[in-house]
Amino acid sequence: MGFVVACCFLLVSPALAGETRHVLVLYSNHRLLPANLEFEAGLRETMASSTELSAEFLDYPRFDGESYIHALATFLREKYALRPPAVLVVGGGEAFDFLLRHRAELFPRTPVVHAAVARSFLSSLLPLPADVVGVPIEYDFPGTIDLALRFHPQARRLVVVTGSSARDHAWEAELRGEVLRFQGRVTIEFLAGLPTDAVLKRLSELGSDTVVFTPGYFEDGVGRQSSPRKAAQLMAATAAAPVYGPFDTFIGTGIVGGSMPNFAAMGQQAGRVVNDLTDGVAPAALRLPEIMLPIVNVDWRQIRRWGIDPSAVPGDAIVWFKTPTLLEAHPTETVAAATVFLLQAGLIAGLLLERRRRRRMELAVQQQRFELAHAARLAVAGELTGAIAHEINQPLGAILSNADAAELLLASGADRRDELRQILADIRRDDLRASEVIHRLRALLAKQPVERQPFDLNSAVGEVESVLRAEARRRGLALEVQTAETPAVLIGDRVQIQQVLLNLVLNAMDAVNGLPEARRTVVASVEHDADRVTLVVRDRGHGIAPEHLPKLFDSFFSTKRQGMGLGLSIARTLVEAHGGRIWAEPGSGQGAVFRVEWPTVGGADSLRSA
C-alpha cells in the first residue's frame, strides 16, 4: 500500500516556537496509506516521548483543485492559530509543494523538515529557505528493473504498468525515460492508463520470458481509485510473470521485491531532525545525509516461487518472510538448548545401557534361581521315587491282571461277554489313571518357564496329594490333608508352590521317621480368611531346636545327615517370589509347624477371569 508522498508543511506561528514541542505532520495522501503508517511509526519511535504530535492529510490525489486547496489552507491556518506547532514535518512531494506555496500565510516562521521528497523534485525548487531542511529520497525505478533482470537472466520482455492520475502520469513519464537504457536487453511494453480488468487480463497471459515492473497506481484507466499497494497486490496475484515494484510497502503483496527507500527509516530520519530542532539546534548547523539510499528488499517466498537463484540476492538485501532457522533466530538459546539436550541424551543413553546391563544380570540371576529350583524339584522327586513308582505301578498292575484274566476267560470258551466288557472298561480307566499320574509328574518335573497366573491353592495341593499319600504309605505314617472350603487364590506358578508343599511335607515325614506310631502323623492344610491364604504343615516329631530357628531357611543349613540344606532356602525364595513369607514355630505339644502365608488376591472371581 502505499506509498508515498507525504509532506508537510507548516508555517510558523510567531511565538513560543521552541517551547511547546508541538509537532505537526502534513502528509500528501490519506491517513491509511501504508507508507504514511510506516513513516509515522518510525517518526514516533524516534521523537522524544513528551513531544505532542498532530497530523493532517491533504488526501491527494483523491481531492484536488483550487477551491479544495483554498479551503484546506484556511482550515489549517485557523485550526493551528491557537496551538501553533514548533516544528512542521512534511511527508511527500505534494504536501511539500503545498506548504511552500502557503507557508507565508500559515506557518511563516516554523522550521520545516521535509521527508519522502524526491531529489529530482527538490532540485527543481532550489534554493530552499535555510529553515527548510530534510533528506531527499530517490525512488529507484531503474535499480528495481535492473534487479528484476538480474533475477531473471532469461527474461526477454519487460512490461511496465502505470495508471491515470496526475501522479501516475508523472511516474509514467519518468519511467519512459528510465527504460530506455534497458532497450538493448529486453523489449519493453507499457500498460499505461488501462482499466484494472484489462491490466490483469494482460498480465495473466504473460509468458515465462517476461518480468513486470509497476509503481502501482492511484487511479486506473476508468477513473477507479486505488492505492499503489492495492494495485500492485492485484497485479502480483494475477500475473503469470514475476512482478517488481519500487516501494517497500509492496512487500508482502506478492511482488518479488525491488530497490526501495524505506518509509520507516524516513520517519526515523525526520524524527532525529525534529529532536535536534526542538533542542534548539540551528537548522543551518544540522549535518544531514545527502539522500536516503534505496536498498534491495525481497520476499523470500517469491524467490522460491519463481525459482530465483538465491545467490543472486545481494548480501545486504532485506529478505522478508524467510523463516529463520532456530539457530539464526535464537543463537544462544539454541546452542544452550542443544547442549542441554545432548547432555540429557547422553545421560539417558547411559542410564538405558546401565538398565539393560542390570536387566540382563537380573535375568541371569533369575535363570539361575529357576535352574536351582528345578534341580531342587528333581531332588524332591528323587525322594519320592518309591511313591511315584507305587502310583504308576498300581494301575499298571491292575491293567496287566485284567488283561491276563480276559485271556483266561477267552481261553475257557465260555460266554463271558459281560465280564469281558467290564474288564475292558477297567483297563481303560486304569490306563487313564496311570497317564494322569505321569501327566502330573511331568508338570511337576518338567523344566518349564515360570508361569504367572491365578490358581487355587486347594487344587494345587490336591494334585500332589496322591503322590504324598503314596509316600506316607511307603513310610508307614499317617498323612492328613485339609483344604479350605472356598478357593484360595494365589497368583504365580502353581508348580513352584507345589514344590514348596512337597518340600515341607517330606521334611515333616523325615521328622517323624522312626517314632512310635501315634506320633507318625503329618498334617498339611490350606487355610483361607479375608486377608490371608495360609499353607500349614505340622508334624509331631522332635521339633526344632531353638538355636536352629534363625538359620533354618539359610542355604546349606541342614540337620539331616544327607541333607544339602537347600530345600528350605529354595522354598523361601519361591514363597517370597510370590509375595509371601514362610516361617517355622514350635507345635503345640510336640513337633514343628511350618507356615506359609500370602496376602489374598481375591476369590473365585479372579480365578474365573484368568
Binding site: Q394, L396, S401, L408, D430
Partner: protein, 206 residues
C-alpha cells in the same frame, strides 16, 4: 472227607488292583476273597482252609508285615505272598525273613504270580500235613496211661526193660506188656521210631 479247594485271600487297599487280581485268580479256577485292609481280613476271621494270602506290602494302617506277624501268632500261618508297587531291598529282606513265600513287584506277570501261588499252596499243604500229623501224635500221646508214659520215658532215655522194671518196681514182664501197648497207641514199630517220635513231640508247636 475230601480236601477243600484252596482259598486265596487278596488284601489290597487299591480297589481296582484288588478287583483285577480277584478276577484273574477266579478265571484261573481259584476261590478267592478280597479285603480292603489288614484289619478287614482279621475281622472276617478267614476259615481254616488251604490257601494263601496275597498281601499288599504298603497299606494305610497296619501293614502287610504286621498282618504276617499276626497270622503267625494266631496259629493260622497261611503262607503270604507280598505284592508291592515299589520293591525296596530293606522291605523285601524283612518280609522274606518273616517267612514270606515270595515278594512280587507290581505289575506282576501271570506266570510269576501263579508259580508263587503254587509254591505257597504247596507250602500250605505241607504245613497242614505236618500240623495234622503232630496233632495225631499229640492225641496219641495224651491217650497213654501214666505207667505207659513212664515206660515210654525209659525207652526214650535208652534203658532196657530190666532197668525200667527195676526203676519202676514192677516186673520185667509187665514192662514188656506196657511197651507193646504204648507202641500200638503211638503207631511205632521200634524203639528207634519211638525215639524220633519223642523228638518230634518235644518240638511240636502248641
Amino acid at each position: 472227607m475230601s480236601t477243600p479247594l484252596p482259598l486265596i485271600h487278596v488284601v489290597d487297599d487299591d480297589e481296582s488292583l484288588r478287583t483285577a487280581l480277584l478276577r484273574l485268580l477266579g478265571a484261573a479256577g481259584f476261590e478267592t476273597r478280597g479285603y480292603a485292609s489288614t484289619g478287614d481280613f482279621l475281622l472276617q476271621s478267614p476259615p481254616d482252609r488251604p490257601g494263601c494270602v496275597l498281601l499288599d506290602m504298603r497299606m494305610p494302617g497296619p501293614s502287610g508285615l504286621d498282618l504276617q506277624a499276626a497270622l503267625r501268632r494266631h496259629g493260622n500261618p497261611l503262607p503270604v505272598i507280598f505284592l508291592t508297587g515299589y520293591a525296596d531291598v530293606a522291605a523285601s529282606v524283612r518280609a522274606m525273613k518273616a517267612g514270606a513265600v515270595d515278594f512280587l513287584t507290581k505289575p506282576v506277570e501271570r506266570e510269576t504270580l501263579f508259580e508263587a501261588l503254587q509254591r505257597a499252596l504247596a507250602r500250605d499243604a505241607a504245613q497242614r500235613a505236618a500240623r495234622a500229623e503232630a496233632e495225631r501224635l499229640r492225641a496219641a500221646f495224651a491217650a497213654l496211661t501214666p505207667r505207659e508214659r513212664a515206660v515210654f520215658d525209659g525207652i526214650v532215655a535208652g534203658q532196657i526193660n530190666k532197668q525200667i522194671a527195676d526203676a519202676m518196681g514192677i516186673a520185667e514182664r509187665t514192662v514188656k506188656l506196657q511197651r507193646a501197648q504204648l507202641m500200638a497207641k503211638l503207631g511205632a514199630n521200634s524203639a528207634a521210631e519211638l525215639g524220633r517220635l519223642a523228638e518230634r513231640l518235644q518240638h511240636l508247636p502248641d
